[in-house]
Subunit: 223 residues, 2 copies
Amino acid sequence: MNLMQQADGKETSATRTAYLTLRQMILTGELAAGEKLKIEQLRARLDTGASPVREALSLLTSDMLVERLDQRGFRAAPASLANFQEILTLRCALEDMALRQSIANATAVWEEALVVAHHRMKRASAEGSIPEFEDAHKAFHMALLDNADSPILLRYCGQLYDLNIRYRYLAAAGTNYQKRDVATEHEEILDAVVRSDANAASGALMNHYRVTGDYLAVPLSDL
Amino acid sequence: MNLMQQADGKETSATRTAYLTLRQMILTGELAAGEKLKIEQLRARLDTGASPVREALSLLTSDMLVERLDQRGFRAAPASLANFQEILTLRCALEDMALRQSIANATAVWEEALVVAHHRMKRASAEGSIPEFEDAHKAFHMALLDNADSPILLRYCGQLYDLNIRYRYLAAAGTNYQKRDVATEHEEILDAVVRSDANAASGALMNHYRVTGDYLAVPLSDL
DNA sequence: TTTTCTAAAAATATCGATATTTGTTGACAA
DNA sequence: TTGTCAACAAATATCGATATTTTTAGAAAA
């Protein structure tokens, strides 16, 4: 009962499956921001029991993607312009810190991992597979910060990354993100990191976020 | 079944009660760092059902006080010197940011709230009630950051505060914390904030943490 | 001895049913 | 009309039982 065969044959718990599915549904907006999340409804939709759904929702609370109301169940975290801006500000502050620490700890192994992550992202972009690009994009950004050797900081950055993704979908920009000249921005970051130029790397990363932020702020301005 | 009468007559859900109790047990070390947390054992200890315990543990995962192992249940988050130092570093960085924003947004109302929080802390200290002092101490520190008007940042600071508390107990310093000259440090912070001197306030706060950190590092050095 | 395999025990994850709350509707009084 | 209050409906939180792992222990083989 515990072990489940997923489509790809990988075995997972029902809770984990529910967690990943619900997470994706919230990030993409399939479950709208602020929407009431009824257990029975989700249970039927995911074809699983109430317990896994309930636990998955509890877990999503950690990620600030779901809110728990007193004894009135759960709802998808509301979205607002203020929230979007707070996320942007915090990302800049935390990622700046993490990136600088990563560079301070730089090793050949890390740099190689970065180059690989960057290459995979470019390949996914060339192949035009949106979900694969999304995964590779997150992997690249996380790889940049990974060498800071600061698990909590990395966790926070990952959370903020995901929260931001949701606003990308809200802005209906999820699909055409690649069309901006984001590739150049990524290369600038990578180059600066490889040169161990912390200021340039951080500057390029901050610029990347600020540009993306401005880009999204327009369609989000009426939140 | 849902509604529970607590000792103080306040009604809460079984999950919330379990959450608060388990949290306290982990913070104080009654449940040791790294210890396996068996549902049945906790269920009996808290005199409640397995579901509330399970959900409470899920919630504690958000706070990084509990880890969830694949399909092998839960355990209290392990403690290590590296973890302690990471918490200290992040607290300094995040609270510096939050405090400066709070001061930038300063209002008379906020300053009054701070003075009250500080007074309560002093009173609790004078009365010698450790748990009340602990609560008031946290309330004071959170009040300092509250005016930054940045819910996520405040949440992170709160989490890090609690994680640090656990190390205080681990260092067996939980009881004699007040004996250090912490009162003066708090006054310095408050004075600087009231003067709207961000640099002095931040400096005093950072000093407060660094001193506390050094103070705890000694007994923790063998983690 | 050490390793490997198997059977029993322990613990987890999940289900289905039930009690408790919250939300809603409509009648009745003001 | 408007407001209050019961009865009803919907949804949540919780329990108890069960299926599925994981862990442990012991026996058989190398």
